[in-house]
């Protein structure tokens, strides 16, 4: 594992690809690889793209890759699709929109499954950002699974969050609701050549104007239309890339980058503590059957979960 980490530091993409796999599969020793690379992270600009299924996130991502490659930036992409709650399988189809970048050495694209995570991305996605960061990608685009209203985990991992809206998904009350509509640094109204785009634009602007001051950053609403006309589409996405860069500059100028990452860092520490302290105890209890015996006791109402937890705590903590 240590070797894998060192290979990634030397920009070996097969090793990077493997670490991401190990993170997804929760291979216990993977933390050793992360130990190797963690000190070298923090150089990429992480851009999150989120929105409803079919809103056009992958197609936008594809065009954004082109826009950044024109600007001589290297790009990493983590594209998330859902895991079946029934079979554990997944059909990862985001990449089909991004095929033209397959052979570009400056681009690394990885499809990932949610594996049961509910926030729109998985824990492994958050950790894989570090891997692409160390590979030296200037921009890392994280495309969430198609989301509804509540899957906002992306704010813990992205410096800049883009929420993609499409016309025809509901009235202005939807725009006032909590959750997804609160997390955008930039709104994109995609498929803006469709009926209702103008109305959605006004509703979104109204919603933004009602919000409290977002600390100096005015949340823009960009219209992107005509995927069918590649030139127009590319122009819209160029404008989006400008805005994203502007937002990054804003974060840098106001010393807000580390502020953004504070939650991610804390969440990761939390996970690490869980993994290194609680998980081994749980594994122990499972291994010698004590977990099941405790459950039996609870079912028979001989004791309660809190007393049992106290007993276990006393045994392990000295």
């Amino acid at each position: 594992m240590k070797e894998l980490g060192q290979k990634v530091l030397a920009k070996d993409i097969i090793a990077a690809s493997r670490i991401i796999r190990n993170l997804e599969d929760q291979i216990p020793d993977t933390y050793i690889a992360i130990q190797e690379i963690f000190g070298h992270t923090g150089n990429s600009h992480v851009v999150g793209i989120t929105g409803a299924p079919g809103a056009g996130k992958s197609t936008l991502t594809d065009e954004m890759i082109s826009a950044y490659r024109k600007r001589n930036k290297t790009v990493g992409v983590l594209a998330v699709d859902p895991t079946s709650p029934f079979t554990g399988g997944a059909l990862l189809g985001d990449r089909i929109r991004m095929l033209r970048h397959a052979e570009d050495k400056g681009v690394f694209i990885r499809s990932m499954a949610t594996r049961g995570a509910m926030g729109g991305i998985s824990k492994a996605v958050g950790e894989s950002i570090h891997v692409l960061d160390v590979l030296g990608k200037d921009k890392i685009i994280v495309e969430t699974v198609g989301v509804g209203q509540q899957e906002v985990e992306i704010i813990n991992h992205a410096h800049t969050v883009i929420v993609v809206l499409v016309p025809g998904m509901g009235d202005e009350i939807q725009a006032l609701k909590a959750g997804l509509m609160e997390i955008a640094d930039i709104f994109v109204i995609n498929k803006a050549d469709r009926e209702g785009a103008g109305k959605l634009y006004k509703e979104t602007l109204n919603m933004i104007n009602m919000s409290k001051d977002s600390g100096g950053w005015e949340i823009p609403v960009l219209m992107v239309e005509n995927v069918a006309e590649p030139k127009k589409f590319a122009e819209s996405v160029e404008a989006l890339a400008d805005k994203i860069d502007e937002h990054y500059q804003y974060l840098v100028n106001n010393n807000l980058l580390s502020e953004r990452m504070r939650r991610k860092t804390k969440a990761e520490l939390n996970e690490a503590l869980w993994g290194r302290i609680l998980q081994p105890i749980l594994n122990d209890l499972e291994a010698d059957g004590e977990m099941e015996r405790m459950v039996e006791k609870l079912l028979a109402k001989e004791t309660n979960p809190y007393s049992l937890a106290d007993e276990v705590a006393k045994r392990y903590m000295k």
């Binding site: 097969i14 599969d25 929760q26 399988g89 997944a90 189809g93 694209i109 499809s111």
Partner: protein, 134 residues
Amino acid sequence: MSNRKIRILLAKPGLDGHDRGAKVLARCFRDAGFEVIYTGCHQTPEQIAAVAVQEDVDLVGLSCLSGAHKYLFPRVVELMKEQGLGDVTVVGGGIIPEQDMQPLYDAGIKALFTPGTPLDTIVEWINNNVTPKE
């Protein structure tokens, strides 16, 4: 605690737009509990090999109904070896005449599934022959 899952890349190399079969397989693999990266039609062997690197797959499934399998399938195997992916299983499917099969096996294609093969047979073959990487 580990949770290794078989990852499969499904791709259609060359000038062939008939993707119904590949889509049915993608769905079938999803239901079998695999993670399938579906990349659709009109791909070059170079693209397929590059994607296999980035996706860390255990199996590459190639579908070809155009008759160009004799060039395209071995070329993918060759490129994957060049990229250090010699350990990844490559299989093929589509309209493959009997007499083409042995040369394809010789070129490193591990199995060929022709029209009419039951989906269960393919899933079973994968479960018996592909182990997720260590």
